[in-house]
Amino acid sequence: MQEIALIRPGRSTDTEVVRELEQTALRREFEERLAECGTLAFRVARGVLRHAPDAEDVAQEAILQAYRRFPRLRDRSCFRAWLVRITFRLALDQARSVRRRELRETLWAVEVPRPTAEDLAASGEFERRLEKAMETLPEKSRLVLLLSALDGHTLGEVAELLQVPVGTVKSRLHFARKRLAEKLR
């Protein structure tokens, strides 16, 4: 007796192929964007953490998170701003955990007298003081300060990156620099 196989050839295979093609295209698009934004993620993390190996780890984690969520990103033109926000948030979390650990380990330390601004500028201590002063800034002002310090980033580009008006960027930057100077004076 002849058997008849009830198969609709190629239907599920076609769906899988289409899905694979879509995923490949998404991955390629992500990797293209990564080439121009990977270093930016590292720099943002480095600006918060002041420690290159930690910054690399955080940037890597941020980029992986962005890759997993990339198919759900509606406006692909916002990729840079989106990646910067993810990286900044992760870097802040990492910095907080590092700070807590340092606080636990240095609770016994005696506070030394504060040197003058000129002395600080002349020594390597300045960066450490700057780092501590930056931790006291509000997150929005801090991010504006970091992005403005990037080479080749104008205030307009920072505003575009953060999707806020240029005036907002200016006022946040002015406030952040004055606050830092006040802390370092």
Binding site: Q23, R27, F30, E31, L34, A35, G38, T39, F42, R43, R46, G47, R50, A52, A55, E56, A59, Q60, I63, L64, Y67, R68, A117, E118, A121, F126, E127, L130, L145, L146, A149, L150, D151, H174, R177, K178, L180, A181, L184, R185
Partner: protein, 249 residues
């Protein structure tokens, strides 16, 4: 100090704000303010330089290559998960199912707890009955107990199963039950004990009718008279069949 009012303006200028004419005129004539402005400008420059130096640092040369490798690995993991049918949604669905099962399981437990509490209440009720034994004791059983000079004591197991079974037993028993208030239980027990052995009328009162039919014209059995004085508890005290020493035990 007259220069104090220019202090904020000096800081703003050092921070990048434009220098206005009034402050410029003051700076031409005031050396301390010029020094202050120069110091503030140096501070802001140092901050900017430090920030630029920090933000200008580049990652290792293999950083991007490592990222691409990580992404390739993540893509492979995602593909493997999709092929195996695993999805984060499955984890959420499993968690939700587990929560539902726990909720469903908690209901029978609650019912069981309710039943248990009801059983405890019933047991407490029956124990209360047990603590006042004469209330539902059958007259004959009580008389028999007293006849053997035992204290009127009801086995708790007789009452513990449930109130319904107690009621069923009460309905099924051929002997009439006498409801006696607890404070009169002792007097009733004495009465039953008194009449159990020798008083046929009292026996007839507490027992159901005679099973066998009485023939017409047959002579009825003679019932000895009962002296009412004998039924008074005070007069029965002399012939108290209850061993008082058993109470103390």
């Amino acid at each position: 100090m007259t220069c104090e009012k220019y202090r904020d303006a000096l800081i703003n200028v050092a921070a990048g704000n434009p220098l206005d004419r009034k402050l410029a005129n003051h700076l031409e004539s005031c050396t301390p303010c010029r020094t202050t402005l120069e110091g503030e400008q140096a501070l802001f420059t140092a901050i900017d330089d430090a920030l630029r130096a920090s933000m200008g640092q580049k990652p290792r040369a293999d950083f991007l290559a490592g990222l691409h490798a990580q992404i390739a690995q993540a893509a492979q993991t995602q593909d493997a998960q999709k092929q195996s049918g695993w999805s984060p949604m499955w984890a959420w669905a499993g968690a939700a199912a587990l929560a539902l099962v726990l909720v469903a399981m908690s209901h029978p437990w609650a019912g069981l707890r309710r039943q248990t509490s009801e059983a405890v209440h019933l047991k407490a009720a029956t124990l209360r009955v047990h603590e006042s034994p004469p209330v539902t004791q059958t007259a004959r059983g009580l008389a028999e107990n007293l006849g053997t000079k035992q204290h009127a004591r009801i086995d708790s197991a007789q009452y513990l199963p449930s109130a319904e079974s107690t009621l069923a037993k009460r309905a099924a028993t051929p002997e009439p039950e006498v409801v006696v208030p607890p404070d009169e239980a002792r007097a009733f027990a004495l009465f039953v004990a008194r009449v159990a052995g020798r008083d046929a009328m009292a026996e007839a009162v507490v027992r159901p009718a005679v099973e066998k039919a009485v023939e017409r014209g047959a002579e009825l059995p003679r019932v000895p008279s009962v002296d009412l004085a004998d039924l008074q508890p005070n007069s029965l005290r002399w012939n108290d069949p209850i061993d008082e020493s058993a109470d103390s035990e």
